[in-house]
Assembly symmetry: C2
Homo-oligomer: 264 residues x 2
DNA sequence: AGATAGATTCCCAATCAATGGGAACCGCCC
DNA sequence: GGGCGGTTCCCATTGATTGGGAATCTATCT
């Protein structure tokens, strides 16, 4: 076995502590961000490529994270997000508290309406879904727990935006509004009108905004100041009448507001 | 304003990249571990003390984590676990998959038994609780989502241990067994007998092991190899008859086994 | 069976970002 | 106004981190 390597080939052009000004924390986050709801297992080399890290660095970092339990190495080679990370992130987080407060009410909605019932919050100018209950017989639904949807395109997003700080509304409406279907409103003026309607009615109806075949209906869970802390929503078949769902969602929202108002 | 400091007082005794051989990853994990189910908000100085970091280092690390969104700085000063960390940890983790597979069955148990219904997995030689459903009228319950209980003391833990690798059983039984109440079995031989009973009956009953006033009953969710992937459990008042709960839990476990066996 | 490709582990010199003691600053309370 | 605790800023020092490269391992193809 040959040990070492020809000294002449050593090329110190780029070596050091993180030559590009990213901290260890940044790199760690980039590694975690390579995992998505649809890409849950990857090789260490995959992670490195996607996080923009040299292969050997990626392998070392992944190894450390596995050691710490934040990532898990399954049978052979494949890496997934570790149970320990879930535990650390869940046991003291805001999403858990909101979810716990909302779950009983969501279950009642779910039992009566028998369609997808969802809970979302406003996070980084998108709707982040904290919980989703589904009957086996419910229709299509693109949302996932811990998944995101644009604010202007989803019924949940529309109520979150309608009852958010004006500053958030301006920021969101000043950026390009992505079109998901032919019915997604992408004109800022149209979205503004929609938001006014949501404020007037107290709920949002989004027929075909996300998927042609379904209609989202959502109501806000509001704090004492009137801002939306969360949105409760249901996903109905495109042609279904939204009356029952809206009624149940409104009732549930009241219940959640009370639960969240309690000291703990 | 005086800038700088007397050069003579500079004391290079301990300066550098992490003088104690802990990696950047270790430190980040230690920071995250300072949060517990009961301690959800802390100051940056608190975190530093508990993680064993010098104040200035702790403040910088916390600042970076806040910047990255893994931690949140609320109104003034207090730090909590960030929504973003929850999102990253949840969206592709094993606990979510197990939970999703089990939730419908758990809801039915919950509706019929009307007591606490729980889901746990084996993690690092403890029972880690992934989900918990509770009626408002249900009794006391010490468990929390993302909380842990010892394997020998909880009904969930006993089924997880009874249907685990023998190697795990040996390891757990070779360590001191913590006593939580007067009824907690702390003698290895007694626990061994209990485990044999659990294997024979296919369920565990733990009267007063955790809290004097309640009885835990649990059944395993088993894989094709017979090992317990998870435990479904209910917490009943100490004197309640466990028959109905066990029947419902067994039915639910079958359903969860089928759901987890499906490709995805 | 041999070749090829990709993932992973190991090695090690060079370095620079992270480190931590100290000091100043900022509120808050007694 | 003085004490206390949290936070921010400063900066010389240095060792942990870094990343090319080579060796090793593991599939998959021909």
């Amino acid at each position: 076995m040959v040990r070492g390597y020809p000294r002449a080939l050593w090329h110190p052009a780029a070596v050091a502590n993180s030559p590009s000004g990213d901290s260890a924390t940044d790199r760690l986050v980039r590694v975690l961000e390579t995992f998505t709801p649809t890409r849950t297992v990857q090789t260490a080399a995959d992670i490195g490529r996607r996080a923009g890290l040299p292969s050997s660095t990626a392998h070392r970092l992944v190894g450390e994270l596995v050691e710490a339990g934040l990532l898990d190495r399954d049978g052979e080679g494949r890496i997934r997000v570790g149970v320990r990370l879930w535990e650390l992130a869940t046991r003291s987080s805001l999403p858990l508290r909101v979810r716990q407060a909302a779950l009983p009410a969501m279950e009642r909605v779910q039992a009566r309406v028998r369609e997808h019932t969802q809970l979302a919050i406003l996070e980084q100018d998108e709707a982040l879904f904290l919980e989703r209950l589904s009957s086996p017989d419910a229709g299509a639904n693109i949302t996932r727990i811990a998944g995101r949807l644009p604010l202007h395109a989803s019924s949940s997003g529309l109520v979150l935006l309608a009852f958010a700080d004006p500053e958030v509304q301006e920021r969101v409406l000043s950026r390009p509004l992505r079109r998901l279907t032919a019915h997604t409103p992408t004109d800022p003026a149209a979205v503004r009108r929609k938001l006014a309607e949501v404020r007037r009615l107290g709920h949002a109806i989004a027929p075909g905004f996300i998927e042609e075949i379904s209609t989202g209906v959502a109501v806000p869970v509001r704090d004492r100041g009137g801002r939306a802390m969360a949105a409760l929503s249901a996903v109905l078949p495109r042609d279904a009448a939204p009356g029952l769902a809206l009624e149940e969602l409104h009732r549930a929202a009241l219940e959640v507001e009370r639960a969240l108002a309690e000291p703990r």
